[in-house]
């Protein structure tokens, strides 16, 4: 079974600084997709970024980028120029594709990010 581990329960960053959130996973599959979701206090789950395992290039979305290390099974999220609105819980998630509607997201436990003004 796939597992996703986010070992840091909390992190803090100064506004305008850069922070990296860690995520590791365990799978025997070679093709899979990884996601980061953000959950602000409003509770809404918001997609931040996604990565295909067969792509070497790290995904980027504006101030958000990932450091994907397939051999190490590591998928960290880097937030540059942190803003107060980035304060939220961040979840790393894994899905094994090619299973059609059997696809299910396996989530890590989440990390709470606070941003200091």
């Amino acid at each position: 079974a796939q597992t996703v581990t986010q070992s840091q329960p909390e992190m803090s960053v100064q506004e305008a600084e850069t922070v990296t959130l860690s995520c590791t996973y365990d799978t025997s599959e070679s093709d899979y997709y990884l996601f980061w979701y953000k959950q602000p206090p409003s509770r809404q789950m918001i997609l931040v970024i996604r990565q295909e395992a067969y792509k070497q290039q790290n995904a980027t979305e504006n101030r958000f980028s990932v450091n994907f290390q397939k051999a190490a099974k590591s998928f960290s999220l880097k937030i540059s120029d942190s803003q107060l609105g980035d304060a939220a819980m961040y979840f790393c998630a894994y899905v094994r594709p090619f299973t059609g509607a059997n696809s299910k997201l396996t989530f890590g436990k989440g990390i709470t990010l606070s941003v200091r003004p």
Partner: protein
């Protein structure tokens, strides 16, 4: 326009009651899901449906019964509510398919259920 919507957002009820949560998506997606987020914020899948057909049932007590009247709607009915059912329930949808875009799930705002 709200892509995935859920009603109600909050639900407070007594133990033993029966309640329903409704979910609708206007994304034209084929696959819909229910997830449960417990008090420690851990998210776990409960069910998935594809075109009204139940695909995943993750060892959820049979007091929980999903119903999909059409592919845009997936409702969750809970019988004989227990204290341990208190949680946030999220509906999600995806296109259904094998590409990363098709596998990407979009979530509703969640329903906070409190059983007293």
């Amino acid at each position: 326009d709200t892509a995935v919507s859920q009603t109600p957002k909050y639900l407070v009820t007594q133990m033993g009651n029966d309640k329903s949560i409704k979910c609708e998506q206007n994304l034209g997606h084929d696959t819909m899901y229910w997830y449960k987020q417990d008090s420690k914020k851990f998210l776990k899948i409960m069910f998935s449906y594809n075109n009204k057909e139940l695909i995943i049932n993750e060892t959820v007590p049979n007091r929980f019964s999903p119903k999909s009247p059409d592919k845009a709607h997936l409702n969750l009915h809970i019988n004989s509510l227990e204290l341990g059912d208190s949680a946030v329930y999220f509906c999600a949808s995806s296109q259904g398919g094998t590409s990363v875009i098709q596998e990407t799930q979009y979530f509703g705002p969640g329903t906070r259920l409190l059983v007293l």
